[in-house]
Point group: C2
Chain length 384, copies 2
């Protein structure tokens, strides 16, 4: 554990810290920066110059009306100074996006995975990188997978790919001469939300994703929690309703059984005796179909209980919801809110539930964010 301790204490050059602060906190005055970094204005001027010369930072020249004195020239990053590639791997597909320094999406492409063999997957990633490459090179590539990753390089365990101990980063770097970082998908998403998404400005918050599964990530003390625990999907089978349906692992009323798209479909299909899509379930509920309503309301209550449990035990006030399986909130938002309230100390601050509307930050962008964050630690050199 003490080795982890030492590794955590990674030295960061002052100019890297400056660049990172500007990246996260947008156009920002030198005076504010100096205070945040605990440095003098003089030092700030000196640190900023090479970054301005190198083109990574620019001075914003938008005057505030009616201000006395010399107008401020806040610093900002030139978001298009670098380009990144984010790749999300699932069991059968790879989705790639290009992003700028702020993780804003450029272009996008998707490819099926011909197999789970490492060389096949690498070939698909290389292909995607070549297709999306333009005149600007990628500064780094982030890849996210569902499962455990160590050291940002090796996939220790990825159930959907059937992988154990696969050196993915090395394999991709061998083909593309660009730094590659691998991360667990939820950890990556949490990192993206922290720097660029709904978690901006919060030191502590949780991320819950609902889709094919339930994902759970945590940011504490302005750092993403990325222990080996983080990749396991520990929020995935959290017990929520002792009378609920069973999940595929045999847990009764766990978060997977109550919340995921397959489980919701399955429950409705069993009751109606015919196959239905998730969209159909939502539509049925809109039209007051009692089965769909009951299932979705139970999901709302379950999500509320999960959010309350997270807020209580992880001691966060903010919870970001993301994923493609949140459509049921249009029907069952009230149930969710009620369940949160019921499991929450009345003295405690109300839980701030933030809805990542229609995937504003997508899984692939999350992967890119990891690459951006790691790159920022060393990103103080000249223009590429």
């Amino acid at each position: 554990m003490s080795s982890v301790d030492a590794a955590e204490r990674r030295y960061r050059a002052p100019s890297s810290e400056l660049a990172r602060e500007v990246l996260i906190h947008g156009p920002i005055l030198r005076s504010v920066l100096a205070q945040r970094l605990g440095l003098s204005l003089a030092t700030l001027t000196r640190l900023a110059r090479p970054l301005l010369d190198g083109g990574l930072l620019v001075e914003v020249t938008e005057q505030l009306e009616g201000a006395m004195g010399r107008p401020a020239k806040p610093l900002d990053v030139r978001a298009d100074a670098r380009q990144f590639l984010g790749v999300k791997l699932t069991g059968d597909t790879a989705v790639a996006v290009t992003t700028d320094l702020r993780a804003a999406e450029g272009s996008r492409a998707t490819r099926p995975l011909p197999s789970h063999e490492l060389h096949d997957v690498v070939a698909v990633i290389v292909d995607l990188a070549r297709e999306l490459a333009n005149e600007q090179e990628f500064s780094a590539i982030g890849i996210s997978v569902g499962g455990q990753v160590s050291d940002n390089r090796v996939v220790d365990r990825a159930p959907f790919l059937g992988w154990r101990g696969v050196p993915l980063a090395d394999a991709v770097e061998a083909q593309l001469k660009v730094p590659v970082m691998v991360e667990n998908d939820v950890v990556a998403l949490a990192a993206a939300e922290h720097w660029f998404g709904l978690g901006r400005g919060f030191s502590n918050f949780a991320v819950l994703t609902v889709g094919a599964g339930v994902g759970y990530g945590l940011v504490m003390h302005d750092q993403v929690v990325s222990t080996s625990q983080a990749g396991l999907g520990l929020g995935g089978h959290f017990p929520l309703d002792p009378t609920g349906p069973l999940c595929f692992l045999g847990h009764r009323g766990c978060s997977t059984a109550l919340l995921t798209i397959p489980s919701i479909r399955a429950q409705v299909e069993v009751a109606l005796g015919r196959p239905v899509s998730y969209a159909e379930v939502l539509e049925l509920a809109q039209n007051d179909n009692p089965v769909a309503l009951a299932v979705l309301r139970a999901a709302g209550t379950a999500l509320g209980r999960l959010i309350a449990a997270v807020a209580n035990l992880a001691m966060v006030e903010h919870v970001v919801l993301a994923g493609e399986g949140l459509g049921f909130l249009e029907i069952a938002r009230a149930e969710m809110d009620a369940a949160i309230l019921a499991d929450r100390d009345p003295e405690a601050a109300e839980v701030d539930v933030l809805l990542e509307a229609s995937g504003f930050i997508s899984w692939a962008q999350g992967a890119a964010a990891v690459a951006i964050q790691r790159t920022m630690d060393t990103l103080t050199s000249r223009e590429p």
Copy 2:
């Protein structure tokens, strides 16, 4: 939130970091220290000298047999170089202990609180400080209370004392010319476990206390989580058993209803129709009394489920159990272990449950630890 952010980024002088590292990691070689702090050996020598001269640090001279070369002289703190006072306030009592720099207990005293008036409580604390004072002055005084505390100075809310917004630190400092720090009791205990107790060496762990109530504290990234959330006792009414008894707030089967000493006694008393003490309950269970056994086994299961929930949602591998209400584990340890296993992903690391045997670190020592930690940030001057 950004102001919290800035406050968190407290500057720490290198010599303070050095002193802290030595305090926590015991006798430690300069070379190891240099690596941990990211400094050169030369800098380390220069940093350590004033601390050695000042008497805060000493060189240990215990040779390792059979080692080649010049023998190492590891650095250690002179634990008795400073003395601290820790005070734990409950609704009716103040418990005070003196400790050295390593939070080891010196002497101890207890006083009833004549009232909840601030001046009465302050008078009791001053009294305790005077009684326990010896030739050595206190470097700082830590006070812990059940409730929310802000800024280590003001008790925002303490239900057992009926306090809201009470400036306790100022009031005590006005009488004793010594720095005073106030902290939530569970946060203080977590801090003590982190530096001096069973949490030593872990970057992430949770603390659960069972006694008159259930307390919950969290250490993440080597920092105690002490947001406003932390003082609320959010683990106190966590739902664990939908068929369990009610707590005084009307929660069915919450952690308070199943685990606390009063609840366990009440359950047995109702069934047996006579008053019993907690010790009697344990004895009854030892003698196979079915009521006591059922109640305690339910408690074991409940604690196991709570531990699993904490491990899953706070993403910790280690959980420290403390408090005077853990006696039931002698009877129901197996139930606890089984419940943890049941709610835990089989791929996840086994939860490491650490039992704070017989209050090795007490509540009052936790209060002292807060004083020690805060003091270490500035503790680089001469001998007192």
